[in-house]
């Protein structure tokens, strides 16, 4: 029964319809939130005593690195759904999240290394978080190239979701081992369990920028999934009606 429900609810057709309705709201909301909180962070918050003004990169860097990991988690859940219930839509989503994840990871890496120049005096250090982010970036690229190398989509879908799940088992291990190996990076600014390590004045715009960036990334994922659905279902009648 669950299977039937999921298949009905998660048909690409209903997905496309719902997403198209929600897209403009998400888009404008997140663009406004993101630009407001980035503006707030860049101009209205006071200067950091230790790092000086370069700390303002936090409003661009932290959302990207947070979202890049969350996207992998989302992919892992979607692949599990695909392998268990054979829901086509979820594997389309996996495939469409992968490039977006690669881009956010790229943003996190670049912004982090530029941030490193004024604070650490070097743009790259062999540090735990940076290395695990780099590995995440390579994994995203590997997923994309694996999926694209098969002509038979069904095979490609299966392999992609297996690899995502195996990789998701490995991601905490990578994090743990790499942190164990060496660390220079400041500890995470916000964790769920502990009190935030930064001042509230700086925290509000940070939350705002994370939410806004998440919204923008959602819009990107929607666009990319629209493309994937068109590509995969181009022979179905509803796609032609839809266009």
């Amino acid at each position: 029964m669950i299977k039937k429900f999921i298949h009905q609810f998660a048909s690409p057709k209903t997905y496309m319809f719902q997403v198209n309705r929600a897209y403009p709201y998400i888009f404008y909301f997140s663009v406004i939130i993101y630009s407001l909180s980035v503006f707030w962070g860049l101009f209205l918050t006071p200067e950091d005593f230790v790092q000086g003004n370069s700390y303002r990169i936090i409003y661009l860097h932290v959302p990207a690195s947070f979202i890049s990991q969350s996207l992998y988690l989302a992919m892992a859940i979607a692949s599990a759904v695909y392998l268990i219930w054979k829901v086509k839509l979820s594997v389309y989503l996996v495939r469409s999240i992968a490039p977006i994840g690669a881009i956010t990871t790229f943003i996190a890496l670049i912004s982090g290394s530029i941030w490193g120049i004024p604070t650490w005096g070097t743009w790259w250090v062999w540090d735990a978080r940076i290395v695990s982010t780099l590995i995440l970036f390579i994994m995203y690229l590997g997923l994309i190239s694996l999926h694209d190398s098969f002509n038979n989509f069904e095979k490609a879908d299966k392999f992609l979701s297996i690899l995502v799940i195996v990789g998701s088992v490995n991601i905490p291990i990578i994090k743990m081992s790499v942190e164990w190996w060496s660390t220079l990076h400041q500890p995470a600014s916000i964790t769920l369990s502990e009190k935030p390590a930064i001042d509230l004045v700086m925290l509000y715009p940070l939350f705002g920028s994370i939410i806004g960036f998440a919204g923008i990334v959602t819009c990107l994922v929607i666009l990319s999934s629209k493309f994937q659905i068109f590509r995969r279902e181009k022979n179905k009648s509803w796609v032609n009606d839809y266009v």
Partner: protein, 215 residues
């Protein structure tokens, strides 16, 4: 028992399959001192990282066509049709590869370790570590090569190498532990724990992947 014999027969008659990787390993070990133009003392310092990376690369080389040949000539479809347990056959295949390539490499690596670091006491500790690590490497690379079965081993490597980086970090820690007399057996147990999980799960995943390839 027949499966062990068959897999042994298949690999042992193909000398480029097992002798090739071993010789490449020996050549890397010989090439390393040639590139370092200093005293033996400094040779020993970075020897271990070369040892791990050489093991990694050679295992990558060795598993390059672990399933491809059986796939191309149709043996895999026969296996999949017959009642035999495909994942057991795969586990046996991986074991035979380790037996014919992993064990010799571990012993050769151990000998070079004595020769280059001049410390037979530390080298004895290294031997079981290479044995276990090479088995883990073979398992993981087999997974990658099964994924990219018909698409070449570069893709498989790209996909699996990130998964192995934590292991390299652990291996680096082991050497520190050996040199400073820290808790060595803890690391060995950790590696054995990883191995015991991988040994069961990887053949199952690979058999799923191979069935998907045969479709």
């Amino acid at each position: 028992m027949n499966i062990f014999r068959f897999e042994f027969l298949k690999l042992s008659r193909k000398s480029r399959g097992w002798l090739g990787p071993i010789l490449v390993f020996v050549l890397i070990m010989i090439a390393y001192p040639l590139t370092v133009e200093v005293s033996n003392l400094e040779l020993g310092q970075s020897f271990f990282s070369v040892l791990w990376i050489a093991t990694l690369l050679v295992m990558m080389l060795a598993t390059e066509d672990i399933f491809l040949e059986d796939y191309n000539d149709g043996s895999l479809e026969q296996l999949s049709i017959s009642d035999g347990n495909l994942s057991f056959v795969i586990a046996v295949k991986i074991f035979i590869y380790w037996m014919l390539i992993g064990i010799p490499i571990s012993i050769i690596g151990f000998l070079f370790c004595i020769g280059i670091t001049n410390s037979s006491q530390n080298s004895i500790y290294v031997l079981p570590i290479i044995l276990v690590a090479s088995y883990i490497f073979i398992n993981v690379f087999s997974f990658g090569n099964a994924l990219s079965l018909t698409k070449g081993s570069v893709l498989g490597t790209l996909v699996t190498l990130p998964l192995l980086l934590p292991l390299l970090i652990v291996l680096g820690k082991v050497i520190v532990a050996i040199n400073f007399g820290l808790n060595y057996f803890g690391f060995l147990l950790l590696l054995l724990g990883i191995l015991s999980i991988i040994i069961f799960i990887v053949p199952m995943i690979i058999s799923y992947i191979i069935r998907a390839h045969l479709e």
